[in-house]
Symmetry: C2
Subunit: 234 residues, 2 copies
DNA sequence: TGGGTCATTATGTCTAGACATAATATGAAG
DNA sequence: CTTCATATTATGTCTAGACATAATGACCCA
């Protein structure tokens, strides 16, 4: 068996990426079949296939059986937005962080199960940074009943205690109500960024949170790199 | 050579996903080595390796040479946000779409190169939906000089003409100025969602756009599914 | 002309074995 | 007791060949 070259798959991937980025192979173009690419790069077809698989994952190409592999059409712009734990976000800015719980109470949710409701404020450098209204389903996270949310922000606590989740975020611009404006030390009606997040474990709801940020103190940053799938943010 | 089972790689991936989701394998846990998994599932090590590779891509596990494969720690919440072409977005809602260019002019940018500046309004069902201020670098997109942006929105045109890009988005809540409020048929100071996007081709800037939406008529939806990398949105 | 069947083709997936590489653990030397 | 060299180990990547599968297009028949 011949010795393998250092990094054929990577070389193939980068070569094809380059041809697409440069415009040499335009969206919709059919690229050579795997056999031919294998011959051209002097490697096994499985290696070409792996490289193409990565390009599919990156959204650069599409493969159709029998038809061949085609340069994908430019994506509707999408971006990976990271929505970090507020404590971490603020620590990363080098500011002091503080959480203040305003109300913690148990109640029944629509299904009759126990729900923990927590309201509070996040402070950055002793200035109010975000309001938070959260509910936690105790059926999914029984340990939450014993946690001390007056000291530790529930988001941070949940990150450390929930195995794995899927989530849906809704980002919206809203005007602060009088009460919200007062809590955020801004004017009534001020533009605020509202982030709502529903979190599930499997298909059962775990927590719902609404965070309200002063529009002049917070923004979301999202990056998108076609071809690499790399993600950064905030 | 033995006949291959229908979908070993997928079975392996889903089994491991399940153990992670259920909490059986907690973050930081070392999972069995590839050889052992291969034996357990009755397949070749390469197949296990492929399955693990997909789990890495999904962010569920981390692999370290010699050390082994470990369940990844839950991600700081991230989500894939899709920022669609406005014409498509509005068409998908079943509303009529219209673009109105307000100002198109050439000017020199900071580097002395030619820049096209375009301002306009997007309408959904004949109501103003978004303001757009855009600049296009003619050095990167010379064809833009001949395009008729009075008829076709520049975002739509660019999607069809630019080979591939990376982008950075900034989402922020801002208060509408008097002029903006008037153009959007809302009140002065109304909360608006501002989306800024810088787009590059390779490392050269292509276009910058600022879109301003009425906060009560638009929101961004972003989904995140740990383990699958699936993306949906809006 | 319309429609159904079938061979062809290109991707999809897997196997068994080989060698590369990096990080850890071990043991020897100072 | 510390430090450096070495062996071990688990992942990383590749090869060559095999069979599966889906979609296309050509062919044949009504």
């Amino acid at each position: 068996m011949t010795r393998a070259a250092p990094n054929p798959a990577r070389r193939i991937r980068e070569d094809i990426e380059g041809r697409i980025h440069s415009g040499e192979w335009k969206p919709g173009t059919r690229i050579p079949i795997e056999q031919e690419l294998a011959a051209r790069y002097g490697c096994a077809r499985a290696t070409v296939s792996k490289a193409l698989g990565e390009l599919v994952a990156a959204g650069l190409v599409e493969r159709r059986r029998k038809a061949g592999t085609f340069v994908a059409h430019p994506p509707v712009h999408s971006a990976v937005m990271t929505v970090p734990d507020l404590a971490e976000l603020i620590a990363a800015r080098g500011e002091s962080y503080r959480w203040e719980a305003r109300a913690i109470l148990r109640r029944k949710n629509a299904g009759g199960a126990d729900t923990l409701q927590i309201d509070g404020i996040h402070f950055a450098a002793d200035e109010p940074f975000a309001l938070e209204n959260r509910t936690i389903e105790l059926a999914e996270v029984p340990a939450a009943a014993e946690a001390n949310f007056a000291a530790e922000a529930p988001g941070t606590w949940l990150l450390a205690h929930i195995p794995w989740t899927s989530a849906r975020h809704i980002v919206r611009a809203v005007a602060a109500t009088r009460a919200e404006a007062a809590a955020l030390a801004t004017g009534s009606g001020a533009a605020c960024l509202q982030l709502e997040r529903d979190t599930w474990r499997g298909d059962r709801p775990v927590t719902h949170v609404r965070q309200l940020f002063r529009g002049d103190r917070f923004d979301l940053v999202a990056e998108f790199q076609a071809g690499t799938g790399k993600r950064e943010g905030n």
